[in-house]
Structure formats: C-alpha cells, structure tokens
Amino acid sequence: MRPPHAGSLPPGPGRVIAVEAVAPERGAWLEVTARVEGDTVVEARFRAWGCPHFIAACELAVARLEGRPPGEAVQFEPAALARELGVPAEKFGRLLVVEDALRALAAAPPESK
C-alpha cells in the first residue's frame, strides 16, 4: 500500500517549505514538503528511500506535522517513534534522519510580512 502522505507538494496557496535529510550510507534519504498557511502546516508530504521501518516512520512523522506550527516539528522524538513502530535498535540511526529533516523544517525562516 502506498503511504497516504507519500509525494511532493507543488507550489500553490500559502508557503511551501522543502527540506531534505540524506544519509544513504545509513540506508535513509528523506525529502519533506510542507504547505504552511499562517502559522500552521496545512499539508505535508514526503519522498523517501529506505527500509519499510524508515518509510513507516516518515509517514507517521509527516502526518503528525499537519495542523501544527512548523516549529513544533522539533518536538519529534525518534525514540518514541521507534517504540511506537517497533523499530529494531540497529535501525535507530535511520530515525535520526527523520529528526534531521523535521528540525530543518522547524528552522525554516518565517514568512516575510
């Protein structure tokens, strides 16, 4: 089954932020696009290369971005996600790639007024 949040967001209403975190040697590559209206992520999508655990973590994390301010992405806890998805310890490093992408999203400069 294709993850519901897989894909990329084209330009449109609001501001589209695109971030990337890459660590192919760890088996993980993630691109996230988020549409922000006001101070809220109204829509988020991802493209990922990696194992099924990594793709599942991307889907869960990106789905949780929606409806929140982009700055809340820093609250993402890889350990909590690992527990939730039953990610084996040897794959934990891949979740740090998800964390890197979300931190980059949270750090994106605010919309100029």
Binding site: P3, W29, E31
Partner: protein, 393 residues
Amino acid sequence: MSGPVYLDYAASWPVHPRVAETMADCLGPEGPHANPSSSHAEGRRAAQVIEQARESVAALIGAAPKSIVFTSGATESDNLAILGAARAGRDRGRHLVTSRIEHRAVVDAFRQLEHEGFEVTWLRPGPDGRVAPQQVEDAIRPETLLVSVMHGNNETGTVNDVAAIGTACRVRGVLFHVDAAQGAGKVPVDVEAWNADLVAFTAHKLGGPKGIGALYVRAQPRPALQPLQFGGGQERGLRAGTLATHQVAGFGVACELARADLPEEERRVRGLRERLWAHLQTVGGTWRNGSAEASLPGILNVGFAGIEGESLFLALDGKVLASSGSACNSASAQPSHVLRALGLSDLACQASLRLSLGRWSTEADVQRAADAVAEAVARLRSLAPAAALERIR
C-alpha cells in the same frame, strides 16, 4: 496460480514427490528400520539401502561410491573438508588459499583456522565474479596446504573454472576443495576432470531432503582429514554417528532424478532465466550481478537503481519469494559479502535481488514474477526522492 511464485531455489528446492515417497517407504512399518551398522539381517538391509544411495550420489559427480562420505549437509561437508584437511596437515604447512566470494560455510571455517594460527590468502574475484586460475597459481607457496574455490556462486550463479584451478593445485601438490552445493545436479559435475580432492554438496538443493549432504573425498591418493566428531567410526572414521537411512535414500533418489534429465533441465531452466532477465530489463535502471556467460542455469542476480532491498522484499511479499542482496538476517541488513567483493557499493548491494529457478519453475512463473517485480520497483521508485534514483545504484 494464486500463491506466490517460488524463485528461491538457490536457497532450497521443494522435495521431489518421488523422493518423499521413497523416504516414506523407509519410515513405514516395512521399511529398513534397523541400524545400518548392525550385522543382523535387518541391519544389512538398511546398509544395502545406504550403499545403493551412495552409488547414485557418487554417479552424479563422476565419483567412485567409496569416495562419498555422508554428512548433514554442505555446511558440514565444507567444514569437514577445510578444518579436517588443515588440522590434519598443519605440520606440512600453515598457508591456505580461498576467495572472498565463498559461502559462509567456507568463509567462517577459514576464519576459524586463522584463529588457530593458519595464514589465509583471500582472493578477490574479477568484476565478472570469477576467480582466475592464474590468481590461484600466483597465491600458492611452498607451504600452501589447501586451496578452496567454489564451483557456482550461491548469490550470482557465476561458475569458476575449477578444472583449471584444480590442475594448478594438483601439479603443485596442494589439496583442492570445491563447494559444489549449487552446481551439483544442475550442470554436469566431474570431480576427476576438476582434479578435486574434496567436493561438498547437499541434497536439498537438488530436490532431496534437508539434513543430508555429502563430501567427496578422493580415494587415491586419499587426503588426510581430521574428523570433526567422534563415536562409532561410521563413514570410514570421518563422520561418526548412525546414518539416517531415510535421508540417505531420499538423497540417492534425488541424485538419480537430477542425473536422468540434467541436460534437458539445464537448457530449460537457463532459457527461463534468460526470459526473466529480458522481462526485468524492461523495468529500466537494472543491472546484472555476476557473469551471464559462465553461470549456473537457474540463478539471476539483478540490481534495481533507486531501490532499497528490504522495501522491495516487503513490496513483493505474497507475490514472489526470492532473496535479497543483504545477508540472511534482514534485521542486520548487512550488504552481501559476495556482491561487495565484486566491487558493488553497499547501496548497490542492497538494491539487488536474487531470483533463482529450478525444476518446477514455469514460463507462467517467469511472467508473473516479472510483472510483480516491475510493479513493486515502479511503486518504490515513485516514493523515492529523484536524486536518490540517480545515486542509489
């Protein structure tokens, strides 16, 4: 047609119905239930079944029956050959030669010998996955005791010129061991032509049961081997333990069946494998690992740009049963040591899939598998960042 397509013959074959029938007869109330080492009539009957099977097993590889030692499988055969020959000959030399593309049963045996003080030269194959006879010749020293180079590789199917390697060893007085677990029963094997002293193979990769294999031990001159286990002195003192009559009988029938239609099956399976490769090339961004020319008939190892092996596995779940370019333990997802030795990056190893065909594979299987793989690859590529598709190959 609703079940998954089984394309993992290199891992294990389904048991041939006639093998199962023979084994069931052995285990039935009228079967040869006595210990084949017993000297009474029932023991002799069981021993007769064993010796008949030994003839069939020997005939498959062009050997004399007395040169066959039954074991629990190819892993034990490889261990007995390598550890046994090295330990028995340690006073004559402590240098050994093998390659980086051997099965773990061989690799780990040599690593054990390194712990025991032997020096091992690990040969790197060429880009086609083959170990050149010249490499072996160059590696042999006066103190070299044993060379071990596999016949057909279990991951890529690439076949080494073991006859030329065996000649190089023979003229230098070095023992030569061959892991033939993949090739026996699929292509003609002639241990005499190979100049091999020790050849390991197994039943479950040619339609026999798991748990039974054989080690060919040249009869004349017979290489010295130190046994790995001790007990009743069975198998000429090389492998103690009561032989499992039903397993041995099943192995014998599997060898007879394989030998009976080997040329036709080799042609048929090779044709199916090439049709599968032709289908998969239409997916785009594919490459073939190992040699297409010098290869076992049933193994195809393919890489798909932009694909992660474990995800491909999951995407194929329930449709195609195959093996990945990672180690058996998917949790560790270690890249294959064989593909790495061919010069592939870790990412390319993980983007690779081994599809292996055998006796029951059909044209319809090939089409269904190719369709399923194409669909899964397209789906995963549609998920991946565009830049990853360029980089992951």
